[in-house]
């Protein structure tokens, strides 16, 4: 049984294709996490500021991305926006745009939550030392906020990695899609392929996500000591 799967993987360039699919998944996730985090930090700072109008628009943006499923956002951008603007954008770029916007929205709320959770007297004692507005953020607020938002941010990142599996729906060949293609090709001769192939994909996702949660644990432990 297992032999047949090993045979399938050894066939032609199947393993190479699967790893290629994994690379697509990792690439979309990584770029989106980085862009989303930067966007989220900026929007989070705005959302914890005193500017009511700006805060309202950030909130609106956040809620739109929360309420509408990511799959629908992918369709809106891939089919809707491109048709509306008459431009041609490939699936992977669309995925990166949508996931970055989603990550930014979710991240902004995490950043905002971390900032407003800091005790008010931290700000006052910083000001009493003569720190400027930026000094206050740089030395007092951001370092403390980062420690508080880390668990939530890592959680979001792993969610983003997992949700990239939706990109199949806009024609991007990620690791899951390659797996399906291999299964379809081999299922007649080796019916158990699907179990082992999806098992392998499970392990591949684990390989991407596990270092993230490990990193978060390590940083938390470092700041705890």
């Amino acid at each position: 049984m297992l032999n047949s799967v090993i045979n399938v993987m050894g066939e032609g360039i199947n393993l190479q294709r699967l790893l290629g699919g994994l690379l697509v998944t990792a690439r979309i996730a990584l770029i989106s996490i980085i862009v989303g985090s930067l966007l989220g930090i900026i929007l989070g700072l705005v959302m914890s500021s005193k500017y009511k109008v700006l805060r309202f628009f950030c909130r609106l943006y956040l809620e739109f991305f929360r309420i509408i499923p990511i799959l629908v956002w992918l369709f809106i951008f891939y089919f809707g926006v491109t048709a509306l603007l008459g431009i041609d954008v490939d699936g992977e770029l669309t995925a990166v745009i949508v996931f970055s916007l989603w990550g930014g929205a979710e991240m902004s709320d995490i950043v905002r939550g971390a900032l407003v959770s800091l005790p008010k007297h931290q700000i006052e004692s910083g000001r009493a030392l003569g720190l400027s507005f930026w000094g206050l953020y740089r030395y007092i607020l951001i370092p403390q906020a980062v420690r508080r938002l880390l668990p939530g941010a890592i959680n979001l990142s792993t969610r983003m990695v997992k949700t990239t599996s939706l990109v199949i729906m806009i024609g991007v060949t990620d690791v899951v899609k390659v797996g399906q293609q291999i299964i379809e090709r081999a299922v007649v001769t080796a019916p158990t392929t699907s179990f082992f192939m999806y098992g392998l994909i499970f392990i591949l996702y684990f390989i991407i996500c596990y270092p993230l949660s490990k990193l978060s644990k390590k940083l938390e432990a470092k700041w705890e000591s």
């Binding site: 005790p119 007297h121 931290q122 006052e124 004692s125 910083g126 000001r127 009493a128 030392l129 003569g130 720190l131 400027s132 000094g135 030395y139 007092i140 370092p143 403390q144 420690r147 700041w223």
Partner: protein, 250 residues
């Protein structure tokens, strides 16, 4: 302290008026604080003592009157609070050390990042100050590893390391366990002996009597009495002050 230097007015409060949402919390406060003088502000809870202190370094805005620091008005439009605050040290009731920094990083933040002083020079001063409050051996500890009393002594050192001309203490022992109050008050007392100008808000009556050059009694946002401590505690002039002092006697 030389006498004529002591007579120099460092901080002049003129008809200060402060409101929160239309409610007057401080009305017509006038007070001169001379160089080297220790003022203890007493009064019932909610009388505006803390608010008065916070007005003095710009943490609260004021709606009327003026505050002169070293002869310069702090209410003019172009006042740079970031500069002023480097000369006015403040210690709060809450343990307000920055939890993500060691004791030494807490103390050096102001001198190095705000005042842009040489780190080696500031470090030397910080070590001397920490030694003076008996906490030099804790310089690499984090605030969570310290007791409340130790944290407050560090907070005092942090303010002192900026070389302020005046120190403001806002009920710094109010949140402490009783057995830790003494170690903090001793530090303030030794500062007073060295001639530091201070404005202290406290509920420790014995300490107030020991440390103060003048007691300022505030009630309902107004100054009721400004007297020498022995006079105030023995023969308070106003009925309100008598009632207030009675609370502290069993």
């Amino acid at each position: 302290m030389i006498n004529n230097e002591k007579n120099q007015v460092l901080l002049e409060i003129k008809n200060l008026h402060k409101e929160f949402d239309g409610t007057t919390v401080l009305g017509d406060i006038s007070l001169n604080i001379h160089k080297g003088e220790v003022i203890v502000v007493l009064g019932p809870s909610g009388c505006g003592k803390s608010t008065l202190l916070r007005c003095l370094n710009g943490l609260e805005s004021i709606q009327g009157g003026d505050i002169l620091f070293g002869g310069k008005s702090l209410t003019s439009k172009n006042v740079q609070w970031q500069d002023i605050r480097q000369h006015i040290g403040m210690v709060f009731q809450n343990y307000d050390l920055f939890p993500h920094m060691t004791v030494m990083e807490n103390v050096l933040l102001g001198p190095v990042k705000v005042q842009k002083r040489e780190k080696s020079e500031a470090l030397l001063q910080a070590e001397q100050l920490l030694d003076r409050v008996g906490l030099l051996d804790r310089k690499d500890s984090y605030p969570r590893q310290l007791s409340g009393g130790q944290k407050q002594r560090i907070a005092i050192v942090r303010a002192l390391c900026m070389n302020p001309e005046i120190m403001l203490f806002d009920e710094v022992t109010a949140a402490l366990d009783p057995e830790m109050v003494r170690e903090v008050l001793d530090v303030i007392l030794s500062l007073a002996k060295q001639g530091m100008t201070m404005v202290i808000v406290t509920h420790e009556m014995g300490f107030a009597q020991a440390v103060a050059d003048h007691i300022v009694f505030i009630d309902g946002g107004k100054i009721c009495e400004v007297t020498k401590p022995d006079v105030f505690f023995a023969h308070p002039e106003t009925e309100r002050a008598k009632q207030f002092l009675n609370i502290f006697q069993f």
